[in-house]
Amino acid sequence: MSTVSRSAAVRTARKPRPSGGRRGERRMAALLLSPTLLVLALVVGYPVLAGLRESLYARGNGLDADGFVVQGDKFVGLDNYTSIFHGDRADAFWNAFTNTTFFTVTTVALETVIGVGMALIMHQAFRGRAVVRASILVPWAIPTAISGLLWRWIFQADGAANAVLGHQVLWTADGFAAKIAVVIAEVWKTSPFIGLLVLAGLQMVPREVHEAAKVDGASALQRFGYVTLPLIKPALLVAVLFRMLDVLRMFDLPAVLVGVNQKSVETLTMLAWFEATNLRYGSAAAYATILFGYIALIAYLFVKLLGADIIGEARRSAKGAKR
């Protein structure tokens, strides 16, 4: 932040009327910020609020001659929410909830371990780092839906995965193997991304710190645990937080890899999407609201417990890159 404070000092020195300049700056800021805030209010704020309202209504019985819904939504209070937790639908909900949580925990944990491993390998490398860093961007650049298809093809009954394993596994049929298939595909696509971020963090750790620890007799494992890890922790936490937010709303990958409406891999987003495409908007909105609450809770806990500083991280990385 040295830039801003220095230029602020320059400004106060040059300008005889600092208060007038500040007011102008504030008006300017408001002017520049308003388009973004307006767009976000329209495309995110409005739908989210309308969705909340929608979740309290049920579709009326009125259909017109063509079978289209006519304005006849009925206020039903919290019925859309309570009915989610009753009977068969409760099973579907808890199944989707468990799947979503399972995917989040397993993929984020694996991604972090594999990503950190990749970063350490690349950091140790003498030559060829550039080539590998280029190849690491390939899984990231493939659209998720396409990678879903690719893995569906690999996981066919007579596909490459079974040929490599030498063992027949029905990956995309309903069951635990389907979950594993989704986890593998997701980890493949996103762990290079974590590797990239961690590598950038590693490159900012001064070599002297490592040497000092080495001289003091720390083993390689100790150096990683007590020197490297604390120094890359801020960057890693933010990466993990964003990954978690992303997996919690997973849709494309299980939908393409295994299919929609499959118990084994159905996530909360898929459940809400299924309701919406069947025109049950009220209950779709209720699912979406519950999912949002879950995501917000996880994000809050993560930031509170582990102290991931998202905005501060942007400040720090900007400063670090300047150095």
């Binding site: 700056e25 995110v44 739908p47 650049a141 493939i142 998720t144 396409i146 596909g159 990239l196 709303r249």
Partner: protein, 271 residues
């Protein structure tokens, strides 16, 4: 010894990242009748799958065009709006600055489906189903926070002393912005454009839900809905070829601008 181990590690990382992608290209280059052949190199090599992709009934050329229009429009709109906001956030001093940045980031927390339901209803009412704007407008919701976040990170690194100097030399604030800051900021804006374009290009949920006419489908949706011509239940060969067509240009761009993209990803820390 250590050196050999290091190369082995690098090779493992490269194989991990590239093997599935290689399999996509290899499968695409097989003849349809060799589809289930698991040999590592396709022989004989055939472009039949690629010809099938652009063959009549898939309408894939149109789908590619749709993707370019939707992702391109989203990118341009986001940048036009986002550049000003990011400039204000990086450069100006005002109260609630962190609150505004926090708010912008918080909007990325909303899952896509929570926007989907009301927008689906709204767009049905105003007749926007099967239009480009029905895909572009919701995409702004995730693309705008992403680009504001990236641009702010880039703009914070700019030497704003130069702008001060230009203003001392008699430039107005607008001139200083246009003549000093814009050229310096161009690389960051360009990187943000690539990352935003890729994010918009990859969008699936909205594009799948807002469109039910084949001519309006984006490439990712179209590929996932390919139907086979022949007896296979799913035309994997054609799908892999189409996947390669969609992915290879993207990968080429990513590799050419590798350095910038890595800088953008690590500055933003977002997908």
């Amino acid at each position: 010894m250590k050196r050999a181990l290091s190369y082995l590690g690098l090779a493992a990382v490269a194989v991990y990242c590239l093997a599935p992608f290689y399999w996509m290209v290899a499968s695409a280059l097989r003849r349809p009748q060799d589809q289930f052949d698991n040999s590592p190199v396709p022989s004989p090599v055939s472009t039949e799958n690629f010809r099938a992709v652009f063959g009549g009934h898939n309408g894939f050329g149109r789908a590619l065009l749709n993707s370019v229009i939707v992702a391109g429009t989203t990118t341009v709109l986001t940048l036009v709006v986002g550049v000003f906001t990011a400039y204000a956030l990086a450069r100006l001093e005002f109260r609630f600055k962190n609150a505004v940045l926090g708010l912008v980031i918080a909007t990325t927390m909303f899952p896509g489906v929570s926007q989907l339901v009301p927008l689906l209803k709204l767009f049905t009412d105003i007749g926007w189903i099967n239009t480009y704007q029905a895909m572009v407008v919701p995409s702004l919701g995730f693309a705008l926070p992403l680009s504001v976040w990236l641009l702010t990170a880039f703009f914070r690194q700019l030497p704003f002393e130069l702008e001060q100097a230009a203003m001392v030399d008699g430039c107005t604030r607008g001139q200083a912005f246009r003549k000093i800051i814009v050229p310096l900021a161009a690389p960051g804006v360009f990187t943000t454009a690539i990352l935003t374009f890729i994010a918009a290009w990859n969008e699936f949920l909205i594009a799948l839900s807002m469109v039910n006419r084949k001519e309006m489908q984006t490439a990712t949706v179209a590929i996932s809905k390919f139907t086979g011509v022949s007896g296979f239940d799913q035309p994997f060969g054609t799908q892999m070829a189409a996947g390669a067509v969609v992915t290879v240009p993207l990968i080429a761009v990513v590799l050419v601008f590798q350095r910038r993209i890595v800088a953008g990803l690590t500055a933003g820390g977002v997908k």
